[in-house]
């Protein structure tokens, strides 16, 4: 052990040690010289004699030094030093290699982290597979809807289920009582739009989580009369409270009520719903009565918007403004069926099912999309990694070829095969290691860049928990090792297989062994075709999407909504709304304004309903979207009324109910002809039926053009436009929860409009929600396409660049190795075209083969991206043709330069050179 430490110390102070040894030996020699002189030898002779007797001083020193070395470790260090020196001597190659690996590994680390967070382990809790939630399936006239939100009554039943190990409840992400909170933490620090989540005290306990800081909720916190407490999300803590540990114990005001901060939630926990933004605050459920955002009168019908066919009274709790809850429970493996049976009995309903929590963390429809998208992405980055490795293998092989004579000489002089193998392998390993380290920086940078995007399905990348540094390190190291083996093996084998006699002879001409390199070029070309094709698809589809006719004029259009502010009242009736609209219309910069939903914008109020047509309830393939619009809605949107008329000021409460339909509705409901004067019935939601007269039918007074309602690539569905003025009794309830939706057309000057809207809202006792322009909404909708475009664009650019470099390298190598052959051909009278043909045959065979394989792969892979395309097929032949042509042209360009070099070969000089 001591010996080991001394060795270690030695290797640290090696140069000092060497100098000491040299001094010591020199003293020795001079003492001997003195002795000789004393014996009567002349000084010169004495010096010479002393030197002679000393023998080889350097060798002696090296022998002495060897005593201290670690053997294997030291030889390895030596290898690394040599390899590093060789790499530094060729900076371009090294830089290209390291950069390639950094990008390839970095992209893989990033995508792996996405896949890991979304698909593999979406919930970072101990044993996530033991967690379940309750899903309610309802079926109404052939329309099946599933939801995770429960009423209070049902939640209480679930909480009492004895075969579940632990059951916790929380306010559902869509519940308004916990949204739009205002938090004040001392003077001057006021945070608006904070998302809260009311939870039972055992919430974190059931999930198996401990707070990152402070304490968890206790049973005493979750009482009606408890002192209000709050737990911060990790993100809120870092972003708003600077990550200071003394935040625990401080008092903040939540919606004006003082509450003590008791802790900070774990960093990796961002709620259990990917479709919703992660909560900023966690609050005890029973304190909701005091801490919840005021959502207006609780006794009206607003809850029905979210609760389908539940009876109205069930929605409301005497103790809490929270109306929609979700449940999370831990169940022992194997006991899930028993728990399910108990639940079915207790709720007397078959529509309630226990489902694994991780299965529900994304909205049902978007999960498949997301899976497909991430598979596509993962495949793409894995291929990039492959192509990068292929390229580097090619480059290193070419270098080994160049060094063949050197290696042969060394082998002839006695360098062992193992030694040569080790040398090449070390070089590759070193490159891979440098690439891996750089990849971590690339991955960090990519993750930051990505956090602005949303994944298909509406999952914001930024809402996902961040991957642990150790994990990304592990992935990077794994890929690094793979890269080292892949890029190092072939050259190392070849170096080790160096046959001196043959190779030294071969120096004077002969065939070039490039079979491996040519296969690699073919692989690269095929991958490249696939990438460029997909990237081009995304670019074209994006262009198509942006050019889509949405059915109305979208220039300078924006939406805004005003909701009731905490503690104030606004009369949500027709005159008040109309007056508000009039004030909005007079804002400088506003050309027109109306009340109604802005199509294709998030939060648009268009919602599906089942209807009857001419008194007869029809089984419709889809529910009909209904939109409540004010009189000038159609003129504001510049949505043309094709037949009949729009709403006017005669369409008021008391007058006959009127409606407009879109073209698709007209065609579907009345295929025979004129829809005007026909009637549509709107059966009220079941909870509203009791005590109300059946809603009268509306008669159709006009037909408007189809518009895109939810997505740019949707096929038009029936839409029914109702007059806001005629449905005030209904809308009053909606408005207090959903707010007044405005569509506003600016005249180009956009700045100042938000501020004006805000002041109008606050003067009227309302608060303004986000103002969104239609372009922003469309951007939001197109996030997956943009993400795909950015990602595939980058990857395909990289793949193309790599392939071009690879082909250039291959051709250069062929030209260099066949200089003599070419010279002889020229001397024998071959003309230029023959030379070029001979050269290109070797290059273009792999290129064309690769292109053919790539085309086939792209063609069959097209269906993977079909889902993300707008107005273009996933297997669009013209795009494929263009992509293939691009790559073949690039390959030709890459081959051109070295080929010209071949043509400049002077036969006489070449032949003389040997």
């Amino acid at each position: 052990m001591r010996t080991f430490i001394r060795r270690l110390l030695h290797s640290v102070r090696r140069s000092r040690h060497d100098a000491d040894l040299r001094d010591e030996m020199e003293t020795h020699r001079s003492l001997r010289q003195d002795k000789l002189e004393r014996d009567g030898v002349s000084p010169d002779d004495a010096r010479r004699a002393s030197r002679r007797s000393f023998g080889n001083a350097t060798l002696a020193r090296e022998d002495a030094r060897e005593m201290w070395l670690f053997g294997v470790v030291d030889r390895l260090l030596q290898d690394v030093r040599h390899a590093a020196r060789r790499l530094v001597r060729r900076p371009t190659l090294t830089l290209a290699a390291v950069l390639t690996l950094a990008l390839a590994i970095g992209a893989n680390v990033t995508v792996f982290s996405l896949v890991d967070r979304v698909l593999l382990r979406p919930l970072d809790v101990p044993d996530p597979s033991g967690l379940v939630t309750v899903q309610v399936t309802t079926e109404s006239r052939g329309i099946t809807t599933r939801r995770l939100s429960l009423s209070w009554a049902n939640t209480e039943t679930v909480l009492g289920t004895s075969s579940l190990q632990g059951v916790a409840a929380s306010s559902a992400p869509l519940d308004r009582a916990s949204q739009e909170m205002v938090v004040t933490a001392g003077p001057g620090t006021r945070f608006e739009g904070i998302r809260g989540m009311f939870v039972t005290a055992n919430y974190f306990g059931v999930l198996g989580l401990m707070p990152a800081l402070g304490r968890d909720f206790g049973p005493d916190d979750d009482k009606l009369a408890a002192v209000p407490v709050v737990m911060l999300s990790h993100r809120m803590w870092v972003a708003r409270f600077g990550g200071e540990t003394d935040v625990v114990g401080r008092t903040v005001q939540v919606n004006g009520v003082p509450a003590a901060v008791i802790g900070v939630a774990p960093r990796t926990f961002t709620g259990t719903d990917f479709g919703a933004p992660p909560p900023d605050l966690y609050l005890p459920l029973m304190t909701a009565r005091r801490l919840a955002t005021d959502t207006g009168d609780q006794t009206d019908g607003r809850g029905m918007m979210f609760s389908g066919n539940m009876a109205g009274r069930e929605l409301l709790s005497p103790i809490s403004p929270v109306t929609a809850l979700t449940v999370v429970a831990r169940v022992e493996h194997g006991l899930i069926e028993q728990a399910q049976a108990e639940l079915t009995t207790r709720l007397r309903s078959r529509s309630v099912a226990l489902v694994p929590l991780t299965e529900t963390m994304l909205p049902f429809a978007s999960r498949a999309d997301l899976r497909r998208f991430l598979t596509l992405l993962a495949g793409a980055v894995a291929l990039t990694f492959l192509i990068g490795c292929a390229n580097l293998t090619g480059l290193l092989l070419a270098r080994t070829e160049e060094r063949r004579s050197e290696l042969a000489v060394r082998a002839a002089l006695g360098a062992g095969r193992a030694r040569l193998f080790r040398e090449m392998a070390t070089e590759a390993g070193l490159m891979a290691a440098a690439g891996g380290v750089a990849a971590l920086a690339v991955a960090r940078w990519l993750e930051q860049g990505l956090s602005a995007y949303a994944l298909p399905g509406g999952t914001a990348v930024s809402s996902l928990r961040t991957m642990g540094d150790t994990q990304s390190l592990f992935v990077a190291m794994f890929l690094m090792t793979v890269a080292a083996v892949v890029i190092g093996l072939a050259p190392a084998m070849r170096a080790a297989g160096s046959a001196p006699v043959r190779d030294i002879k071969r120096q004077s001409g002969g065939q070039v062994r490039l079979g491996m390199t040519r296969i690699l070029v073919a692989v690269q070309v095929s991958v490249c075709v696939v990438f460029v094709f997909f990237a081009a698809l995304f670019v074209r589809s994006m262009a198509n999407a942006l050019g889509t006719d949405v059915g109305f004029d979208r220039s300078n259009l924006m939406s805004a909504s005003m909701v009731s502010a905490p503690g104030t009242t606004f009369a949500f009736d027709a005159p008040a709304s109309a007056a508000l609209a009039e004030r909005v219309r007079r804002i400088p910069g506003v050309g027109a304004a109306a009340l109604g939903p802005l199509p294709i914008s998030k939060g648009s109020d268009t919602r599906p309903r089942a209807v009857s047509v001419d008194g007869e309830i029809r089984e419709l393939p889809v529910p009909v979207d209904t939109a409540y619009a004010s009189d000038d809605y159609f003129t504001t949107l510049r949505l043309p009324v094709l037949r009949g008329r729009g709403f006017n000021d005669l369409d008021r409460a008391g007058a006959p109910l009127v409606a407009l339909v879109n073209e698709t509705a007209a065609r579907q409901f009345w295929p025979e002809g004129n829809p005007l004067e026909h009637r549509i019935g709107l059966p009220p939601p079941p909870m509203m039926r009791a005590g109300r007269p059946a809603e009268p039918e509306v008669s159709i007074v006009g037909v408007v053009r189809d518009v895109k309602v939810r997505a740019l690539n949707e096929t038009a569905a029936p839409v029914l436009y109702l007059s806001r003025a005629q449905h005030e009794y209904f809308l009053a309830g909606v408005a207090s929860g959903g707010g007044l939706p405005f569509v506003i057309r600016g005249d180009g000057r956009t700045d100042g409009i938000s501020e004006a809207l805000r002041s109008i809202a606050s003067e009227s006792g309302l608060s303004l929600r986000a103002v969104t322009t239609i372009d922003e909404s469309i951007d939001q909708l197109l996030m997956p396409q943009r993400l795909g475009r950015v990602f595939l664009g980058l990857l395909s650019a990289m793949a193309l660049a790599l392939t071009v470099i690879g082909i250039y390298g291959l051709v250069s190598c062929i030209v260099a190795r066949s200089t003599k052959e070419t010279g002889i051909r020229m001397a024998l009278g071959a003309d230029t075209s023959q030379i070029v043909r001979a050269l290109l045959r070797r290059v273009f065979l792999p290129v064309l083969a690769g292109a053919a394989i790539g085309c086939a792969a792209a063609w069959s892979g097209g269906r993977f991206v079909d889902r993300f395309m707008y107005g273009i097929e996933g297997s669009d032949p013209s795009t494929l043709l263009v992509a293939t042509a691009t790559i073949i042209t690039s390959a030709a360009a890459a081959a051109l330069l070295p080929t010209r070099r071949a043509l400049r070969i002077n036969p006489v000089e070449t032949l003389r050179a040997d």
């Binding site: 001591r2 010996t3 001394r6 060795r7 000491d20 040894l21 001094d23 010591e24 030996m25 020199e26 003293t27 020795h28 020699r29 001079s30 003492l31 001997r32 003195d34 007797s53 000393f54 023998g55 080889n56 001083a57 060798l59 002696a60 020193r61 022998d63 002495a64 030094r65 060897e66 005593m67 201290w68």
Partner: protein, 112 residues
């Protein structure tokens, strides 16, 4: 008179034993050790530097001797080696082993 330049001329480990013995009576530098061995063996053992210094490094590494820097007779920088307690133990042990070895060899040679 051949130069006993390589340790192989001696029994394995003998050179180390001789060096340990040489420095056991007081600090000596490399040249001093060589001279001591030469004089003590009446010019039979002439240790070459190329054998001496690796051996010294080995002894240093094992912690049997320690070196201190001082000035040589001709005013140069020289390392003076002294025996450590571990070195003294090693000397005793090696000496016993050597005696046993020599005894064994002599026993063989004495047979007719």
């Amino acid at each position: 008179m051949g130069l006993t330049n390589t340790p192989s001329d001696l029994l394995p480990g003998t050179l180390e034993l001789l060096i340990l013995k040489a420095v056991s009576h007081g600090a000596k530098h490399g040249y001093g050790i060589v001279e001591h061995l030469r004089l003590a063996s009446e010019d039979v053992l002439q240790v070459g530097e190329s054998a001496l210094y690796p051996a010294l490094q080995r002894l240093l590494l094992n912690g049997w001797v320690k070196g201190e820097w001082g000035t040589s007779e001709n005013n140069r920088r020289a390392r003076y080696y002294t025996l450590t307690p571990a070195g003294r133990r090693q000397l005793t042990a090696e000496r016993a082993e050597f005696d046993r070895m020599v005894g064994a060899i002599q026993g063989v040679l004495r047979t007719i």
